[in-house]
């Protein structure tokens, strides 16, 4: 079980729920609770309210109501507004959904594990009646008339939609810094773990000026999950956009196999690589959400027809039959020594538990980022052509001619990053360049995909790699380089997976010497998501990643802390 502070919920529910969560965590931290909690405690004794499974049980048993849960998350969203994780908070919608969920629970007819559970959705998924902007002026004020399939599936299960989360404009970026609503701040910037380390290093400057990025482009979703404002969030993953912020924010980020989850309603970036991503606080939750989202969608012809059923992950105890591959080309000079040492530690962990750990080779790794760059910009150039201001979205004032109107609309609507990619993409698609760049990149893509196939055919079950080059960096550091350079650097471990369409998951492993999360990535065979998550779950249990201690929120509740201390101690 993940080492986390369990909130012990009093059946009478007389006290403030969020205060309970924070109070008990702080007590556990202060008493130097070092030992891991052990195997999952019996449900009757404790209800951890960090995970979907446990909340679901609490809801079914009436220990907490969906409306309470919704109110707590809404209040946490308000308290963490400075993180800028949300673009739109759909308060009324969420409360209405909570009311309906409550009625269902009272009758004993819950829709499933996600009924009444707050979730957030990245703002490039269409949500009916709720503004969907992709953090761009081009779609500011755009209200889609339909729900994306994945959103609809979550709503059909009774999940409460808290809001739409912030991202890089049109999901282009690796920092969640380039949207029109401003950058997203990493909750770990305000964590006790990070701040204590900074005090030790006697950094006396204003604490808020050096806040850290969340990574991107699904930074808002990652921050929302990390700061407890929701239990799960949807992101999108084209080159690592779900896994990168997951690693920086200390949450689990899953990229399912391409073709498993419907892309209908996900505003497309790269049609051949986009996948809806899932961000949660533990691997079991990711599996729960995947079980709901996976499956053929008649509205998305790129989803496979094979039947998919929701699944629960087995608790693996014996890894001796596993073969873990370590791609040697992923050991790059830019990799930070801390991430490298954690990567080695993880490999040794598997080996010490009996798994076979071998070094493998993905020979075309050094070309994969270039290939991705060409294919991505080319597909982006095509996909962005639909934004002309005529049927939806921003429209300029000029009405001299259609072309002038399109040009002015697009100039006003897109930021530099998007325009840059469109222009690069169109360069690679020019007749004289098509063969040498675009088709060449497609050929290199096949070579890269074949690299993975060869490795998996040689008996490897799962690959283990770093997710990011280092821990989250301060914003002031990040913006020193432009978006394209940063993306090329930060996507290095993640984008090859998108090109091959494989499933991958980033699992937080440990805190760095600065007190910031570092995650590792597991890559599985195509459509073997369940197996991948099983291995990830085992790993998560072994490493016992600590819960974030959010100082800001605790300060707010300090006055109530005194009163609750005795009450919460007695529950232990």
């Amino acid at each position: 079980m993940v080492k986390d502070g369990c909130a012990h919920v009093k059946p009478a529910a007389a006290t403030d729920l969020s205060v309970f969560l924070l109070v008990t965590w702080s007590l556990w931290w202060q008493t130097g609770h070092e030992d891991h909690v052990g195997p999952d405690p019996p449900r009757s004794e404790s209800n951890c309210l960090l995970r979907v499974q446990e909340v679901s049980v609490a809801l079914k048993q009436g220990q907490v109501t969906p409306t309470e849960l919704c109110q707590r998350c809404l209040s946490l969203i308000k308290k963490t507004k400075f993180l800028n994780a949300y673009i739109t908070v759909s308060e009324e919608v969420a409360l209405k959904q909570a009311e309906e969920a409550e009625k269902r629970y009272k009758k004993g007819h819950s829709l499933g594990d996600l009924d009444g559970i707050p979730i957030a959705v990245k703002d490039n998924f269409s949500t009916s009646g709720i503004e969907t902007t992709c953090a761009s002026n081009m779609l500011k004020g755009y209200v889609p008339p339909y729900n994306a399939t994945v959103v609809q599936k979550l709503l059909d299960q009774g999940a409460l939609l808290m809001g739409k989360t912030n991202l890089d404009e049109f999901a282009m970026g690796s920092g969640s810094t380039d949207g029109i609503f401003g950058p997203v701040k990493n909750p770990w910037s305000y964590s006790k773990q990070y701040r204590e380390k900074r005090k030790q290093n006697s950094h006396s400057e204003n604490e808020d000026s050096n806040w850290l990025i969340t990574g991107g482009s699904s930074g808002g979703s990652a921050a929302a999950v990390s700061a407890f404002t929701c239990f799960a969030a949807l992101g999108s993953d084209t080159g690592g956009s779900t896994r990168n912020p997951a690693a920086h924010c200390g949450v689990v980020g899953l990229k399912p196999s391409y073709g498993l989850v419907s892309r209908h309603g996900l505003i497309p970036l790269v049609n051949s690589m986009d996948v809806p991503g899932i961000l949660t606080r533990c691997v079991d939750d990711a599996a729960t959400v995947l079980g709901i989202l996976a499956g053929h969608d008649p509205k998305d012809s790129t989803t496979i027809q094979d039947p998919v059923k929701p699944f629960t992950l087995p608790s693996l105890t014996d890894v001796s039959k596993l073969c873990i591959g370590i791609p040697k080309e992923y050991l790059t000079p830019e990799l930070s020594s801390e991430v490298h040492s954690l990567w080695s530690k993880a490999a040794n962990l598997f080996e010490s538990e009996g798994a076979k750990v071998i070094e493998v080779s993905l020979p075309h790794t050094s070309y994969s980022i270039v290939c991705y760059h060409v294919l991505c910009t080319s597909e982006v150039a095509s996909n962005m052509a639909r934004f002309d201001g005529l049927e939806y979205g921003h429209r300029c004032d000029s009405s001299v001619s259609t072309e002038a109107m399109y040009a002015a609309t697009r100039r006003e609507g897109f930021n530099d990053v998007v325009r840059g990619r469109i222009l690069s993409g169109n360069f690679f698609l020019l007749k004289e360049n098509y063969e040498n760049y675009f088709v060449k990149a497609q050929k290199v893509r096949r070579l890269i995909a074949n690299d993975f196939v060869n490795v998996f055919n040689s008996g490897v079950d799962v690959l283990l790699t770093p997710t990011t080059l280092s821990e989250a960096v301060p914003y002031t550091e990040f913006i020193k380089e432009d978006n394209r350079t940063r993306s090329a650097q930060d996507d290095i471990f993640t984008q090859a997976v998108n090109m091959a369409g494989l499933p991958a998951v980033s699992v937080p492993m440990a805190l760095s010497t600065q007190g910031l999360p570092i995650g590792l990535q597991f890559i599985g065979r195509a459509f073997c998501d369940q197996q991948l998550l099983t291995v990830a779950k085992w790993f998560e249990k072994q490493v016992q990643f600590p819960v974030i201690q959010l100082q800001e929120l605790m300060d707010d509740c300090s006055s109530v802390f005194e009163n609750e201390k005795l009450a919460s101690v007695s529950l232990k």
Binding site: P145, T302, D388, E391, S399, T402, E403, R411, K443
Partner: protein, 181 residues
């Protein structure tokens, strides 16, 4: 960006592509036609464009954005290419930095030349070994014209309103310099 066309030259090609010449309100499909023509120029339009570019040659000196001044540039991003890309993409570079970024992007992409891809087929989709199925051709949803029209800024009755589609895009006409974002 593009040329101050000779009216007779342009009209000759435009009339072949577009039916209504004088209507202010065009049907959406006409706007779409203009859009399609942008993506896949017809023979006559390409001819017209070639002529335009020749006519433009004299005016080219006015444009400040070429890569020749850029020390990192390979000189591949010429003024002509800039105009061409802007015309195709209907987005503008906006600044010299943007041109420099394109240069860097091209230089980055050039690394692909080092890979030997003899005999390798291009990969379009990772699901290439599976069949993609089409839905059966039955109407199961729709009738939401009102909802869809609400999202547009200019609508007249049931039509999306577009400006005339038979006018070549010319930045000089609009007298708009590149805005610096």
């Amino acid at each position: 960006m593009s040329v101050q066309a000779s009216p007779t030259l342009f009209m000759a090609s435009a009339s072949a592509a577009v039916a209504a010449l004088s209507d202010v309100i065009t049907f959406k499909r006409v706007a779409r036609l203009g859009e399609d023509a942008l993506r896949r120029p017809t023979g006559s339009e390409m001819w017209a464009r070639a002529v335009h570019l020749c006519l433009r040659a004299a005016a080219r000196g006015r444009r400040g954005f070429t890569s020749k001044a850029d020390p990192q540039g390979s000189g591949r991003v010429t003024g002509e290419l800039i105009q061409h890309l802007e015309r195709l993409s209907l987005v503008d570079f906006g600044s010299q930095e943007a041109v420099a970024r394109l240069e860097k992007a091209i230089a980055f992409a050039d690394r692909l030349r080092a890979v030997n891809t003899d005999g390798v087929e291009p990969m379009e989709s990772v699901l290439e070994d599976r069949c993609l199925y089409l839905r059966s051709d039955n109407v199961v949803e729709g009738n939401c014209a009102e909802e869809l029209l609400q999202n547009s800024h200019r609508v007249v009755e049931e039509y999306f309103v577009a400006p005339p589609g038979n006018i070549s895009w010319s930045k000089l006409d609009e007298k708009q310099p590149f805005p610096h974002h």
